[in-house]
Symmetry: C2
Subunit: 435 residues, 2 copies
């Protein structure tokens, strides 16, 4: 049966073409934006074409953060001969950040390598632009581990600096890339402190700026960002179902998130997860499989800067007393699959592990404990639903995550298809043999 | 110890920068060409910088096939209204093929889908250009399997068609790519038949041409290629050693091939294998490891269209009575590593398998039977030397194999480094604990 699924996806697969349409006709699709609605239309149409028994929109209010224009940063300093130099930095304001206003912020830049150093030098940051230059640790083979560590600077760095009077924050992008593209992503202000403007810069600029500051030179920074929140907008989770033949009231959810950051096409994050999930439904239907339980594909709204879609899905499921049997998410890119991670009970994990040899020929060589996804997390917390997440190879993910190069051209058709193939195989096994 | 190797390669690695220099200052480097000599210089310099105790050139005569200029193909046919159409095909003459002469070949094109069809229609091919449209099977998860099957059309297709009087051959490229780049590679004439010109075309052109021919239209083809052999040239295997401290006369060879096809930079094939192998030496030296046996890095000459380098290395080893303990090759690209394949005795394989858990944290999740490499094959046949080959993820390889997009930009730094890391770990284990 898995061979049949594989043949269908590898020979007749629609993931790649579906992703092309999403990326090239919609592009970036942040919650609240006009592109969000276009993406929802794409989702409805694509799920219908995939053969869903029914497709509908589940309404939820979403935040509508808007970048407001081009982000600008420059630095002024003197070279060794005392000549004034002015240079541009390639930056992106962090998601959910407050802008500087049209005049921008002008202040001295202070290099802070990590939070320990911030605490030691807290008396020096008042009135300054704090530049966090925390590195993305190359020694971790699993890049998500490096992201977990350095991500703290994006999320809580601005408020921790504001606490000591900083007027703005610049961070080194959360990436180990070889280019200079800045990587955005949500920040989270602590309401106890001023909401200061903040932006991420590319790695070459970060290396350059840190070198200048380490040499003892004084650097005057200028930052202009126009980020702001519009009133909450009405968005939707896009849902398509294959009705279960034996247990139609038991739900197996498979999904990704439809929203993506504005400067790119959200090809890997998380267009890939959307087309993966749609392909699971399409392939199972195409080969004539009649699911025992109802298989629901959910394209979640607003993962990036609010998680309102994931929360809404779990809330409504609870209100309706639905029974959620299993949920699988793909939100780590469309790269070659390597593993699935599971958050399940021990006896369920033992059963899952008996399936290991079924996946090996298709590229998933590990079934590991721990895993899921941000959008299905609320379902797990609400119902104790067993959760799983696709684990693609992570080496290239943070080269383009939340950056302008997260575009269709950087997705490989075969790698994308193999992700969908393994997901469809897992959904089939869970549906057919139970957990 | 492996963690130490990993930290050295992931934090201070030179693979990516070494590859950049090879690709961007030398580029394509087919045996016999002036670039071959430039590449040898690069190899000597880079091995010395990596810390080899000694570096030398091992001379061998190599064939010098020369493309002779731009390959041209056009088709003429009539549209449904009888209007004459002329279209260009994007082609590359096959390596080692004979050119058409300056006037080119003008003949009717016949579509032949596979060798069975050729045999059935053998009376129809005389005086025609045979177009083999054998597909690269997308159903195989391991792309090398598809290559193995379709590769027969590149290697023996021309002579099999010449046997029945064909005047030239065009083939569908051995690839599952989404673009139209043609993929070259060696053909092998059967001396019993005329050495007819032959070239590969990109997949979009192949789809277009087969569609036209399947519709019953007559297509007149024109092919001009200028391939020819110059007299054999003097090339070299580039060899660098770390002298063994306990068994200096026992050799562990680690290598890739330095030659590459002319239309690209040979980044994955096999610049990656060269910088992988050099990095093994560099990293072991950098962390202060003193090998028990002599570790030899060999950048082999002329893998692509002659294998003279691999043969020479084994011949000279035999003549000198050298003892070859183990050999490892990297010639499947610089993609994220997934496995090693071994051609070893059963008891050696059993020992190797006890190391499996040491590799898992670094991305190699399988140690499988069967494997090696074209260049170390002669060593295995001469001495029964245990052989191994690095098995990177194969999904992207045939998108760029022997095509103009096999360039540095399509190599990911982290994926490349992880290949070197796992190779260094394997060499360390074999040297330290024996087979």
């Amino acid at each position: 049966m898995i061979r049949k699924i594989a043949d269908e996806i590898l020979a007749n697969g629609k993931t790649y073409d579906n992703l092309r349409v999403l990326c090239k006709t919609v592009g970036g699709r942040l919650a609240g934006s006009p592109q969000m609605l276009k993406a929802e239309d794409w989702g409805v149409k694509t799920l219908k074409e995939a053969g869903a028994d029914q497709v509908w929109l589940q309404e939820c209010k979403v935040p509508y953060w808007d970048r407001g224009g081009k982000d600008v940063a420059t630095i002024n300093y003197k070279d060794d001969k005392g000549k004034g130099l002015k240079e541009n930095l390639d930056i992106l304001a962090l998601g959910n950040s407050m802008g500087t206003g049209a005049k921008g912020v002008n202040a001295q830049v202070i290099l802070i390598n990590n939070f320990d150093e911030l605490e030691k030098r807290k008396d020096e940051v008042k009135g300054k632009i704090v530049f966090y230059n925390y590195p993305f640790n190359p020694r971790y083979v699993q890049t998500f581990r490096a992201y977990g560590e350095s991500g703290a600077y994006r999320r809580s760095g601005p408020s921790r600096a504001a606490k000591y009077g900083a007027v703005a924050v610049l961070i080194r992008s959360m990436s180990g890339s070889t280019d200079n593209n800045p990587h955005t992503g949500s920040t989270a202000y602590d309401s106890a402190y001023a909401k200061i403007p903040c932006a991420a810069m590319g790695l070459r600029d970060a290396d350059k700026l840190s070198k200048i500051l380490e040499s003892g030179k004084q650097v005057q920074g200028y930052l202009k960002t126009m980020g702001h929140f519009n009133p909450d907008a009405t968005g939707h989770n896009v849902i398509g179902e294959l009705k279960g033949s034996e247990f139609p009231d038991e739900y197996i959810t498979v999904g990704g998130h439809l929203d993506s950051w504005d400067p790119a096409e959200g090809a890997h994050d998380d267009g890939a997860g959307c087309v993966h999930s749609i392909e699971v439904l399409r392939a199972l239907k195409a080969i004539g499989y009649k699911p025992r339980r109802t298989i629901r594909v959910v394209l979640f709204a607003n993962e990036e800067n609010g998680l309102r879609g994931g929360n809404k899905y779990a809330e409504e499921a609870k209100a309706k007393g639905e029974k959620h049997y299993f949920a699988l998410e793909s939100d780590a890119g469309g790269f070659t699959p390597r593993a699935f991670g599971f958050t399940v009970k021990k006896e369920q994990m033992d059963k899952i592990k008996t399936w290991a040899d079924l996946f090996k020929p298709y590229g998933v060589s590990d079934l590991t404990e721990g895993g899921g996804g941000a959008d299905i997390g609320p379902l797990g917390r609400t119902f104790n639903t067993p959760l799983a997440g696709l684990v693609p190879d992570s080496q290239r993910y943070f080269d383009l995550h939340h950056a302008r190069n997260d575009v269709f051209e950087n997705v490989n058709r075969r790698e994308l298809e193999l992700g969908a193939l393994n997901m469809a195989a897992l959904i089939y096994l869970v549906d057919k043999y139970g957990l």
